[in-house]
């Protein structure tokens, strides 16, 4: 039985094909191996759409096959998910270009995952975003995921990935 539920967003999957930063790529693989063994991976069709834009065909195929190997549960959009994303966007004051970020947050809340895993420390894995999501979740009585990098998530779970 799965212990935790994870929603790794696109930057996590992209890192699996990262030819530049070997350390972060290794950390990503290590967390993926760990969660594949004992946890549940969720993804969304929005992640698939974002991955479909990876310019290099071999890299795109490699990443998508790693995603496939994780046997993810697929999340599809809903009008409720879209409304939540719009409300989060307004609450955080991010502007319209942040809408897709908030869709990922919305999907992870509605799917009741334990953690949204991301390498995006500029926008998602930062205290401001966590505060907004937590306040919104509390007000709307929604599940609030941890939002963190693979290293942070591994630390929260007490797992070693480096």
């Amino acid at each position: 039985m799965a212990r935790f539920r994870f929603y790794p967003e696109t930057s996590f999957w992209r890192r699996l094909g990262d030819p530049v930063n070997q350390d972060l790529r290794k950390a990503t693989y290590q967390l993926l191996r760990s969660i594949k063994k004992q946890d549940r991976v969720l993804t969304s069709k929005l992640v698939l759409l974002e991955l479909s834009e990876v310019p290099d065909q071999d890299e795109r195929r490699h990443i998508m096959r790693r995603l496939w190997d994780a046997r993810p549960k697929m999340v599809t959009t809903s009008r409720r998910a879209e409304r939540i994303a719009l409300e989060l966007l307004e609450a955080g004051g991010w502007g319209e270009e942040g809408f897709a970020d908030m869709l990922h947050v919305s999907y992870s809340m509605l799917s009741e995952v334990d953690a949204l895993v991301t390498w995006d420390q500029g926008d998602l894995a930062r205290d401001h975003t966590r505060r907004i999501v937590q306040a919104y979740g509390r007000r709307e009585r929604l599940s609030v995921p941890l939002i963190g990098t693979p290293e942070e998530v591994a630390q929260w779970l007490g797992r070693r990935i480096r």
């Binding site: 930063n21 698939l48 270009e97 942040g98 869709l103 995006d120 420390q121 926008d123």
Partner: protein, 63 residues
């Protein structure tokens, strides 16, 4: 939203801004849900092609 310096993140954010603009444009026209469903189908097709190594809709996609 803040810009990232990591080139991989910068590319993810570039793609995401493009998707966000398209979706918000649809939202202003009252067509957000329909547009997002259409975009999801596009992503799913690419996924099937990548994992099957052949054209989408050939029935080989794992249920």
């Amino acid at each position: 939203m803040a810009r990232a310096k990591d080139p991989l993140i910068a590319d993810v954010k570039r793609i995401r801004r493009k998707i966000s603009r398209r979706l918000m444009d649809a939202h202003h026209r009252g067509r957000l849900h329909e547009e997002l469903l259409a975009m999801e189908r596009q992503g799913e097709r690419a996924y099937r092609e990548a994992v099957n190594g052949s054209k989408a809709g050939n029935g080989k996609h794992r249920k």
